[in-house]
């Protein structure tokens, strides 16, 4: 645990942040939500050979129970509004991972009349995973990077916490404002 011998009670507050962040980072429950062929790689990452359960990543069938929205595939304009709705149905802190070229920027369908050019045009994204589709190792690496981000989160009204750090959203790497 945190062994900083700081007097004045700060040890307790910092430890709370640490424990909560630790709990969050090892129970990242993504929503079972595949949009295109990237979903196949996502399923492989859940399955035995790559075993996402090691990281506490266990797929949940409901956005109410999910922490992580894994956008695995092409975001069409017709699917854009349901994605925003699902995002708002998730409890905070919520994280979004854009998996694959399509979800990052439109990918090979950039010129299409039907595809949103990146899911970050409709919801904020924490982690971008490049690839078409990304290997499961890339997905695991992205989850580990997201865990590093989560470890920088802080609680409300503790030392150094911004609103963004509290809600676990976008600018987790930024300095406290």
């Amino acid at each position: 645990m945190v062994a900083k011998p700081v007097p004045g009670g700060q040890v307790v507050l910092t430890s709370t942040d640490y424990i909560i962040d630790l709990s969050r980072k090892y129970s990242l429950w993504p929503l079972t939500f595949g949009l295109a062929c990237c979903a196949i790689e996502m399923m492989v990452a859940y399955a035995g050979r790559f075993d996402f359960d090691r990281f506490g990543v266990i797929p949940r069938p409901s956005p109410r129970q999910a922490d992580l929205l894994l956008i695995a595939g092409t975001v069409t304009k017709k699917m854009a509004e349901p994605i925003v709705q699902i995002y708002h149905q998730m409890p905070e802190p919520r994280f979004v991972m854009a998996m694959g070229s399509c979800a990052n920027c439109g990918g090979p369908y950039y010129d299409s009349y039907a595809v949103v050019k990146g899911v970050d045009r409709i919801i904020p994204v924490d982690i971008y995973v490049p690839g078409c589709p990304p290997r499961p190792e890339a997905l695991i690496y992205a989850v580990m990077e997201l865990q590093k981000k989560i470890m920088r989160m802080k609680l409300e009204r503790t030392y150094g916490a911004t609103v963004q750090a509290e809600k676990g959203s976008r600018d987790l790497t930024g300095e406290p404002a």
């Binding site: 069409t76 304009k77 017709k78 010129d111 009349y113 039907a114 045009r121 409709i122």
Partner: protein, 190 residues
């Protein structure tokens, strides 16, 4: 596949004005002369000749010229690729096929018992793309015709619910038409 199968002769004899066309994927293909011939032909195929499975309703837009990417070369209507207009193309689509302002409708009927297939084709003008609906004979025609309406703008007379099925509600126009110009919508804003 023999183009002179007996069901083809019966179909050609029963539908005046129809003629055998270039086979599509080596299957017998019949070109109808007018939209009013479609329903009698489909009824004959279903009730007497055993083709009780409607496999596909689609169309081809023969407006040209187009390049290999499918975009009209000059001018290029695609707002995202205007810097790359593509190579110039000839006004001939292929051997014996010229570009013309028509939509070439295509119906595919299957016979699952005897493992046969037959295609019906019908040309309609692009500005008045209308055809009779087959939903009375084949319930499977419902969504197929909605898709053809959505992507090609073909009005199927008699369809009970002819609304968009694939594209979002705010998308204007019919994207698979060669002269489709994509208007930027809320998700294309820079």
């Amino acid at each position: 596949m023999s183009a002179g199968a007996d069901f083809l002769d019966r179909l050609l004899a029963a539908v005046p004005g129809s003629q055998a066309d270039t086979p599509v994927k080596d299957y017998p293909t019949v070109r109808l002369s007018a939209p009013k011939d479609l329903l009698p032909a489909a009824r004959l195929l279903k009730d007497e000749l055993g083709f009780d499975y409607l496999e596909m309703v689609t169309a081809v837009d023969w407006l040209g010229p187009v390049n290999l990417g499918g975009f009209v070369s000059n001018p290029n209507p695609n707002p995202f690729t205007q810097k790359h207009p593509g190579p110039p193309v000839s006004p001939v689509a292929g051997p014996g096929v010229t570009y013309r302002p028509v939509l070439d409708l295509l119906w595919s009927f299957g016979d699952l018992v005897k493992n046969r297939k037959v295609f019906l084709r019908l040309e309609v003008p692009r500005d008045r793309a209308e055809a009779p609906s087959l939903t009375g004979l084949f319930p499977a025609a419902d969504w197929q015709e909605r898709e053809a309406f959505d992507l090609f703008g073909i009005r199927f007379a008699g369809h009970p619910n002819l609304i968009k099925i694939l594209t979002p509600d705010f998308l204007q126009g019919h994207p698979l038409r060669k002269d489709y110009v994509h208007a930027k919508d809320r998700y294309d804003a820079e």
